[in-house]
C-alpha cells in the first residue's frame, strides 16, 4: 500500500451533533490510509499507522468542525455521551478508537445529550 492511498468514508452526525458541522448530517470524505501515529501533536515523530477512528475524530475536528470543540471531544476521544457506530455496529464491539478504517465504511456519531 502506498502512503498516498486514501480511504473513502461516509460520516454522519445526528442527535444534534450536526449543528457543530455546518448543520449537515452526511459528509463524504477521503482520508489518508496511513497517518502519523502522533497526528494532532507536535512531537515531530514520523512513525505511521493505518488510519483509525481516533485519527478520524481528530481529522474531523481539524477539517469539518465549525464550532465548540468541547461539545465533540474530550481528551483524545469523543465526549462521553456521544455514541459511535461503525457500519451500524456499536464501536464498543469494534475496538473503539483503534478500529482501522476501511474503504466505504459508514461512521455515525450520535449525541445523546440533547434533551426533549
Amino acid at each position: 500500500m502506498s502512503s498516498a492511498a486514501t480511504v473513502s468514508l461516509n460520516v454522519e452526525f445526528s442527535g444534534g451533533l450536526e449543528l457543530l458541522f455546518s448543520n449537515q448530517r452526511s459528509h463524504k470524505l477521503s482520508v489518508p490510509a496511513l497517518v502519523l501515529k502522533t497526528y494532532g501533536d507536535t512531537s515531530g515523530s514520523s512513525e505511521t499507522k493505518p488510519a483509525d477512528i481516533t485519527f478520524l475524530i481528530h481529522y474531523l475536528r481539524d477539517n469539518l468542525l465549525k464550532e465548540r470543540v468541547e461539545l465533540f471531544m474530550e481528551g483524545a476521544t469523543v465526549r462521553p455521551g456521544i455514541l459511535v457506530l461503525v457500519n451500524d455496529t456499536d464501536w464498543e464491539l469494534e475496538g473503539e478508537g483503534e478500529y482501522v478504517l476501511k474503504e466505504g465504511d459508514e461512521i455515525v456519531f450520535i449525541s445523546t445529550l440533547h434533551g426533549g
Partner: protein, 357 residues
C-alpha cells in the same frame, strides 16, 4: 477483529454492547430485551389496569418518541387495554418548540394516536419568548418548569386521562439523585426514584423508562429509524443539571453500571420520618384551584409577578414579601382558568385524531 455473535440467540452478528450488563447482542435480540424490560417494569409496578386512559407526555425528543412507540407496541403485544394519547406542551419558544411540535404531529400520524397540544399562551397568556423578553435568560427555567408541570396536569384533565407517562430515563433519574444529594434536598431524594407519583389531587404520573439507559433509547431510535427532534433549548439550559450530567457521563464511561448503581443507592436510602415531613401539607390554590403548599400556587405567584412587571417576586421570598406589601393583586389581574381535577371517563374536550386531520 472477527465478528462476534449475539450472546442471546448465538446466531446473528452482535451489533450493540449493553451498558447495563456488558452483553453483546444483535439488533433483533436488542429490540426484544429492551421492550421486555420496559414491560417488566410496567407489570412489576402495576402501573396500569385495563381501560386506563393514558397520556404520553410528548416533546418530539428522543425519549418521548421512543416511549410512544414502545407503549403502542406493548399495549398491542400484551393487550394492556389502554387508550393512549399524546399530550404536548407548547411553551412558545420560536425556533425550538415549534419545530419539535412538527415532529409530534408526524408521530400522531405514524402511531395513529390522538394528540392534544396545550400552549402556555392559551393557559397563562404568556409565551416563553415573551417571558424571556421580560425576565432575561437567568431565571427563565424556573418559569418554564413550574408552568410545564401545571400545564401537563391541566392538559391531562382536558383529555380526561387517568395517568401521564413521561420519557424520563435511567440517566435522568441518576442525575436527579446526584443533584438532590448535592443540594442537600433529602426529602426530594426520598421521592425522586419512585416510578410513580400521585398526590391527592394530581393525576398519576409514571416513568416506564426508569431503568432504560439513554444509550439504549438512542440506539433503539436509530435502529428503528424513529423520527425525533434533537436541538438544545435556545434559552439558557439548566446549568446545575448540566454539571451533574457531564459528571454522570464521565462515570458511565469509566464504569457503565454507574447509572443503575446510583438509582439503586437513591432507592436504598432510608429517609427519616421527620425529614420526609418537611414537605408542606398540600392544599388548593385560592386563585386557580391547582394543588399548592401555600395560599397561592407557584404558577399563580409567577404569573402575578409577570403581569405586574415584578417577575422576580415568584422566585425569591424577599421579592414576594415586597410585592405583597406594595398592594393586593389588582382586580383585573390575568389569572389561570380554575382547575377542575379529572372526574375520569370522558374527555372534557374534543381531541384531534389522526383520522380527522
Amino acid at each position: 477483529m472477527p465478528p462476534r455473535t449475539c450472546g442471546l440467540c448465538a446466531t446473528n452478528r452482535a451489533m450493540l454492547k449493553r451498558p447495563k450488563t456488558g452483553q453483546q447482542i444483535c439488533r433483533d435480540c436488542f429490540f426484544y430485551v429492551f421492550e421486555t424490560e420496559v414491560h417488566n417494569t410496567i407489570t412489576q409496578s402495576n402501573l396500569f389496569k385495563p381501560g386506563d386512559r393514558v397520556a404520553i407526555g410528548a416533546s418530539g425528543g428522543k425519549d418521548s418518541t421512543v416511549l410512544a412507540y414502545v407503549m403502542k407496541t406493548l399495549n398491542e403485544r400484551y393487550q394492556y387495554g389502554l387508550d393512549l394519547f399524546l399530550l404536548s406542551i407548547d411553551e412558545g419558544i420560536t425556533g425550538y418548540r415549534d419545530d419539535s411540535l412538527e415532529t409530534v404531529k408526524r408521530n400522531q400520524q405514524q402511531y395513529s394516536m390522538p394528540l392534544k397540544i396545550l400552549s402556555y399562551d392559551e393557559l397563562y397568556g404568556w409565551t416563553m419568548d415573551a417571558i424571556v423578553s421580560q425576565v432575561g435568560k437567568k431565571n427563565n427555567c424556573t418559569f418554564c418548569g413550574v408552568f410545564r408541570r401545571q400545564a401537563l396536569d391541566r392538559g391531562a384533565a382536558m383529555l380526561g386521562v387517568d395517568h401521564i407517562v413521561t420519557g424520563h430515563n435511567a440517566d435522568d433519574i441518576a442525575e436527579t439523585v446526584l443533584m438532590n444529594i448535592m443540594r442537600g434536598d433529602i426529602a426530594r431524594l426520598g421521592r425522586c426514584t419512585s416510578i410513580c407519583t400521585q398526590g391527592e389531587d394530581t393525576i398519576k404520573r409514571s416513568k416506564p423508562f426508569k431503568y432504560a439507559y439513554e444509550k439504549e433509547i438512542v440506539m433503539y431510535a436509530y435502529f428503528k429509524k424513529l423520527d425525533y427532534f434533537s436541538t438544545e433549548c435556545i434559552y439558557s439550559p439548566d446549568a446545575y443539571r448540566g454539571h451533574a450530567r457531564v459528571f454522570l457521563k464521565d462515570l458511565e464511561a469509566a464504569r457503565p453500571s454507574a447509572i443503575i448503581d446510583i438509582i439503586h443507592s437513591g432507592e436504598a436510602f432510608e429517609i427519616r420520618e421527620d425529614v420526609k415531613a418537611t414537605q408542606k401539607v398540600q392544599q388548593t390554590c385560592k386563585r386557580c384551584g391547582y394543588m399548592s403548599s401555600n395560599d397561592l400556587c407557584k404558577a399563580c405567584t409567577l404569573l402575578e409577578g409577570l403581569e405586574r412587571g415584578m417577575a422576580n417576586s415568584g422566585i425569591t421570598d424577599r421579592a414576594r414579601k415586597k410585592l405583597d406589601a406594595e398592594s393586593p393583586a389588582p382586580e383585573n389581574l390575568r389569572t389561570i382558568p380554575f382547575y377542575q381535577p379529572p372526574s375520569s371517563g370522558e374527555a372534557a374536550i374534543a381531541v384531534e385524531t389522526a383520522a380527522s386531520s
